[in-house]
């Protein structure tokens, strides 16, 4: 990847807070025009790594380029081209949404005449145009989250760093967030999204960076993710649950009821054995209505990687 194509490149970021080694070697590439997911359990160092990229924190070590500039020595250049949305949006409660965005536009040195237009455009993007004159504190958590997200877009940045943008969003807003992220990437921006809600990322991300214990443990294009090696849970439903359970027991497959949702089965050996089990059930005349992995493949790979580290 050449520098021109890379929104973010990071090599060997390390950062400790006193005795806590928050980040101990994160490598990261965020190409322009793509959505890159930063995935890892709580405390993996995602937020810390993003703070380094966002020109807020000096790393103890590491090579970082954001939009072609060094966030430590050329913070101003980076800030002009990078938008960052923290995981907790601090908002000024008494400002209205429009005032809030206009203030941010001013802080990004957008000329006075353009601020109102910019704020209106962003409010539409956040689906909050009717909230323009409402105080920020009257917004719901999800609406605040959306406002915080478009705030990061005030200055039309080439690189977008979003820390857990999906948390607090209702299903509809999640779908919209996905579409928005795709659109932003489609406009040629480099988008880095951290999340632990993996099913959301699976459908939007082009690439995934797995981190655990402060280290990058894998970077993959979403198309060629390694297959899971450990057991995976599949959820089954049949027209006749009793018959389904009997067939499973006959095959010695352990199952557990998931109530009305169906029956959960642990499948070892990846998609190959899952497909075989389904074929056998169908061949045995069990009328199966649902057969699907619980959690996406991203989750499986992720759990796999995390397990592998232990």
């Amino acid at each position: 990847m050449t520098a021109a194509q890379a929104g973010v490149t990071a090599r060997g970021i390390r950062r400790s807070f006193g005795p806590v080694h928050a980040v101990q070697g994160i490598d990261l590439d965020v190409p322009l025009g793509q959505v890159t997911a930063l995935v890892g359990p709580n405390g993996a160092g995602k937020t810390t790594a993003m703070l380094v990229l966002a020109t807020l924190l000096v790393p103890d070590a590491g090579e970082v380029r954001v939009a072609g500039f060094d966030p430590i020595t050329q913070a101003g250049e980076v800030r002009a081209r990078m938008g960052w949305a923290p995981d907790v949006f601090g908002m000024y409660d008494t400002l209205t949404c429009r005032e809030y965005l206009e203030t941010m536009a001013a802080a990004y040195r957008i000329p006075t005449g353009q601020r109102t237009d910019r704020a209106r455009h962003l409010l539409e993007l956040a689906r909050l145009p009717d909230k323009a004159e409402q105080p920020v504190h009257s917004l719901s958590r999800g609406q605040k989250q959306r406002l915080g997200l478009v705030r990061a877009l005030v200055h039309d940045p080439a690189v977008l760093l979003l820390d857990e943008p999906a948390s607090g969003l209702d299903p509809r807003s999640r779908v919209e967030l996905r579409d928005l992220l795709r659109r932003l990437a489609g406009e040629g921006r480099a988008v880095l999204v951290s999340s632990h809600i993996l099913s959301d990322l699976e459908e939007v991300a082009d690439r995934v960076v797995f981190v655990d214990g402060g280290r990058t443990v894998g970077q993959h294009a979403i198309g060629d993710m390694p297959q899971a090696r450990t057991a995976r849970t599949y959820r089954l439903r049949g027209l006749d649950p009793a018959a389904l359970q009997a067939e499973l027991e006959k095959r010695g497959v352990g199952w557990a009821t998931a109530g009305h949702a169906g029956i959960d089965v642990q499948v070892l050996g990846g998609e190959e054995s899952a497909a075989r089990l389904l074929a056998e059930l169908v061949a045995a005349d069990v009328r199966v209505t649902a057969f699907a992995p619980v959690g996406g493949s991203l989750e499986a790979t992720y759990l796999d990687l995390v397990e592998g580290q232990r």
Binding site: F17, G18, T47, L51, V52, A54, T55, L56, L57, V58, P71, I72, A75, G76, R79, A80, M82, W84, P86, D87, V88, F89, G90, M91, Y92, T94, L95, E99, T103, M104, A106, A107, Y108, R109, R151, H155, D163
Partner: protein
């Protein structure tokens, strides 16, 4: 410059909308109006003012007391305006989102200073009608009023700057607020107590000769002229001593000459004269009774306020510098347990 105004406007807006702002300013004005009324009726008493001639100088007596009260109350209000500015924003998570914009650390720092100082000046500004009242009562020059207001404004700005710096140094808003109040306490009561104690222990032995009794003996003399600088940073000392041209009254002597005499009821003037007196060094001089070691009559030292205001301004400059450094990002050091976002 625009960045400073952006931050200041934002902060000012937040302040005005949060809390019972109008009530606070209204209560503040009413309290000071009450004080002014009380001072006026006290100063109006015959035994204080003496004769009708002096009635026209009633304003000077009122103004001095009122301004000391204004400064005292303002010193109580001002730390609250800035002492939670930065760490409060950190707690709410609003600081980092400002820091990643193109605002520089200096713009954020000065914008916040401007906003808190501006708020303090609003409180000071609403007392102007009271100053006008004093002026109308007579005995005051516009220059004196302007000078006193200017110095009060500066002193409040200095307190704002120090409080702001404390809010960047400490993670918890309560700690920084308490320290800001302690700083004001140190500047006001602390300087006074230190001056008193140090002066009491710095004494000189001197031999004086008393011709009347035909002998000489040793005395110990306190030397405030060596410790006066401890008192200089006191905001009240600075205010009293820096006030331009204390009001005087003109007295006509029986022989037709007139002399000008400082008003005894002008508190600021009396404080100022007292401050000048403590700067004067005692010395041996001959009197009709013998050789004395004391400050001769009519000798006074120089003014105290240039040093006092200078020290305070240096403190403020240092505080502003600290604030800017602590707001600079990317950050290398974090206070313990402090998160950026």
């Amino acid at each position: 410059m625009n960045g400073i105004l952006t931050v200041a406007r934002l902060e000012f807006r937040l302040r005005i909308r949060a809390g019972r702002w109008r009530w606070l300013v209204g209560a503040w004005f009413l309290v000071l109006l009450g004080v002014t009324l009380l001072v006026r009726s006290a100063a109006d008493q015959e035994n204080l003012v003496g004769d009708l001639e002096e009635q026209r100088t009633l304003g000077a007596a009122m103004f001095g007391v009122v301004m000391l009260v204004v400064l005292a109350l303002a010193l109580l209000v001002t730390p609250a305006l800035a002492a939670q500015s930065v760490n409060g924003d950190r707690e709410r998570g609003t600081l980092a989102t400002l820091q990643v914009t193109r605002l520089s650390a200096a713009e954020i720092a000065l914008g916040k200073l401007l906003a808190s100082w501006g708020t303090a000046l609003v409180f000071l500004g609403v007392t102007l009608p009271l100053a006008l009242w004093c002026y109308l009562e007579g005995g005051l020059s516009v220059l004196r009023i302007a000078g006193v207001y200017l110095v009060t404004a500066l002193l409040l700005g200095i307190v704002c700057a120090i409080s702001l710096a404390l809010s960047t140094l400490l993670a918890r808003t309560t700690t920084s607020a308490v320290l800001a109040y302690l700083t004001v306490f140190a500047l006001t009561v602390g300087t006074l107590v230190t001056f008193g104690l140090v002066t009491a222990s710095v004494q000189t032995e001197a031999t004086v000769r008393n011709d009347g009794y035909g002998g000489s003996y040793e005395i110990t003399v306190p030397r405030p002229d060596k410790t006066w600088f401890l008192l200089a940073p006191n905001p009240f000392a600075v205010l009293a001593d820096s006030a331009p041209a204390a009001p005087v009254r003109t007295i006509e002597l029986p022989n037709g000459d007139t002399i000008e005499e400082p008003l005894s009821v002008d508190v600021l003037g009396s404080m100022s004269r007292e401050l000048h007196r403590i700067r004067a060094a005692p010395r041996y001089h001959d009197t009709e009774y013998g050789t004395q070691f004391a400050v001769p009559d009519g000798v006074t030292g120089g003014p105290v306020w240039p040093l006092g205001l200078g020290v305070n301004l240096l403190l403020a400059a240092g505080a502003i510098w600290v604030t800017i450094v602590r707001l600079r990002t990317p950050t290398r050091k974090l206070a313990r347990g402090q998160r950026i976002a």
